[in-house]
Amino acid sequence: MRLRFVLGIGLAVLFANSAEAFTAYVSNEKSNTVSKIDTDSWKVTKTIRVGQRPRGIAYTKDQKYVMVACGDDDTIQLIDTHTDAVVGSLPSGPDPEFFTAGPDGKLLYVANENDNTVTIIDVPRRALIGAVQVGVEPEGMVMSPDGKILINTSETTNMAHFIDPVKREVVASVLVDQRPRFAAFTPDGTELWVSAEVGGTVSVIDPVKHVVEHRIEFAIPGMRSDAIQPVGVNITREGKLAFVALGPANHVAVIDIKTHKVLKYLLVGQRVWHMDFTPDQKYLLTTNGLSNDVSVIDVASLKVVNTVQVGELPWGVTISDH
């Protein structure tokens, strides 16, 4: 007992020297739980029971809560990050799957899959304050870096919708490939990347001209093209590299932003969907639905360095700022 304790301290000291410790929360779609991971020990330190079918997950801007969309309960639950208890919920509209916050963190924009709408929530007041009609099966959500344009992707309509968050209306729509799942801006806001899960591509859109400038395709030797189904897209802070999770292809593609060329495919767990960086950008965590684990990618060496077992069908991940 004592030996393990001492060893524990020893390991903690060892890792504390190599990297700062952060906390990651992972939503487990089938278990109805959220796994809390310590990025120092790479261990699950707590499993939190939440509502039904937890998918979209993110810290609030003030880091006091983790918000998790519980689709089958038609709500977004709030986990207190000090106590790890579910302490409240937001009125999200029916079947919330994915959401994004406005620049000040006060407003939350939620994709309601069953309703063809994006719902707007005032987080401090925990009140629903508006809705925007979009295409069929809204999913991906992201705010432009300047906070002026909100993007929503609709899976059956196959579009990225550009929404004016002040006027709360769609100002432009761009056709992409089939079943767009995720949208991400480059840090300078000059490119919008949209993944198409069934189409198997990532469209790079000029957000001013509203046109697709490039289509990135993927090919992994020995893998049939139908298995390559891009979902999550995460771009490094300095805007050099993009990571694209390829779903049942069990790989994450690393793409050079400047050339839009795939540099490398990293083998992770099975059916990889969403990802998040540690705030020091040293690591990228991926959720692997079918192998019930999280892969840890070392961003500098582009190698998978660890795997953490979580609950069933891990879906999304969010990591603390400190």
Partner: protein
């Protein structure tokens, strides 16, 4: 090459709600039949809008998309009674300016309809007939098959049974033509995937009522008699599209064996219990609008109309010729909650699709099964692959 660059240009067109006022109107026809099928289970009785409801929901979905593209979709349906002439229905739709027709018709009626529309350049979407001959000797340039063929359904089931090592089959088939055709497809699948039919029996339809007030007592003793004295087998495979006997088999066979085919584990293009790959959203939309479960004919019609919507949004054209040639081309794909993109086989215009295996309560598996490999698309392990085709598109 030229096609690719034209397409690329189209993909680059940005769309905004502030487009000029001229809306592209897309009119879609639907021809179905007023079904008077009798089934063993009350749960299986077809709704009066079976199939049509799926088309109507897809028109809604297309219009939600269309409002961002200034495209508008409308459906005009004609439901045929037994003796009605399908050619007359085609004429009527064509006179109303419709050139894209979704048909949920039996094979002969579909052939009559598509022949009637041929001269006028009409394109048909077969959302109902599973007949293999429509994809083989009777295939046509102006008929796109959304419904899976019997061969695809049988292959999907066979792959799963072989994966389970249930390779000794006791085949029981009905006495009506469609039952015999499905039995043929099952025999073909057994040969393809290495199963063995150890016994075959025909279950004759003697014309009795499916349901009687005290019928269960008799059935309970009849089915064990019918299935006894067979060589040892792993699974009882039924071919009973006419729904005369298959649903009586589970739990009543002489030996304790699972049942598959037309009862028990059934291959199908859709099941109301299915929620994977985003299907839950489609199921909810459907149930909300029609207050009933979504069935395979509904899904086939939905997919047909969504394919039209997809082709219209990519080509910005309502012209049947443009739409059909885009669908036949290499850039067409539609997402239909099956985990894979669905595309057309260029040799017989059959939609490639995974097939669900449902037991009436849940989806047990989705074929193609792991290990059934193919050099181009694993979906082509289901049904008639390019080397098997007898189709000459004309």
């Amino acid at each position: 090459m030229i096609r690719t660059s034209v397409l690329a240009t189209l993909l680059l067109i940005a769309v905004s709600p502030a487009l000029p006022a001229s809306t592209l109107d897309v009119k879609i026809g639907y021809i179905g039949t007023i079904e008077k099928t009798t089934t063993i289970s009350l749960l299986e009785m077809p709704a009066s809008n079976a199939g049509l409801a799926g088309a109507q929901l897809a028109v809604d979905d297309n219009n939600t998309t269309g409002k961002f593209l200034n495209q508008s979709f409308a459906l005009q349906e004609i439901m045929l009674n037994g003796e009605d002439d399908p050619a007359a229905a085609v004429q009527k739709l064509s006179d109303a300016g419709i050139s894209l027709i979704v048909a949920d018709l039996p094979a002969d009626a579909l052939i009559k309809a598509s022949d009637a529309g041929r001269e006028r350049g009409l394109v048909f979407f077969n959302a109902g007939a599973t007949d293999d001959r429509l994809r083989q000797d009777d295939c046509k340039m102006n008929v796109i098959h959304i419904a899976p063929s019997r061969a695809m359904l049988a292959d999907a089931l066979a792959q799963y049974l072989v994966w389970k090592h249930w390779t000794r089959w006791f085949l029981v088939f009905g006495s009506h033509e469609p039952d015999k055709l499905f039995a043929d497809a099952l025999r073909r699948s057994a040969t393809r995937f290495g199963a063995r039919i150890v016994q075959e029996r025909e279950f004759k339809d003697t014309g009795g009522a499916r349901r009687t007030d005290t019928g269960l007592v008799q059935i309970q003793s009849q089915i064990p008699l019918f299935t006894q004295s067979a060589p040892d087998y792993d699974v009882l495979v039924t071919a009973d599209e006419s729904q005369v006997f298959a649903d009586y088999m589970p739990f009543r066979t002489s030996q304790p064996r699972p049942v598959a085919g037309s009862a028990g584990l059934e291959p199908t293009s859709w099941d109301a219990s299915f929620g994977q790959w985003g299907a839950l959203q489609l199921q909810s939309r459907f149930t909300k609008k029609f207050s009933r479960w979504m069935t395979a004919p509904d899904m086939q019609a939905w997919t047909a109309v969504r394919m039209i919507g997809e082709a219209v949004s990519r080509t910005n054209s309502a012209d049947a010729k443009t739409i059909a040639s885009y669908m036949r081309g290499p850039d067409f794909a539609v997402a239909a909650f099956k985990g894979d993109k669905l595309t057309l086989r260029d040799w017989d215009l059959q939609l490639r699709q995974p097939i669900l295996l449902a037991d009436g309560r849940t989806v047990v598996s989705v074929s193609p099964q792991p290990g059934f490999l193919h050099q181009n698309s694993e979906l082509d392990t289901l049904g008639f692959d390019r080397p098997d085709t007898k189709c000459q598109l004309k």
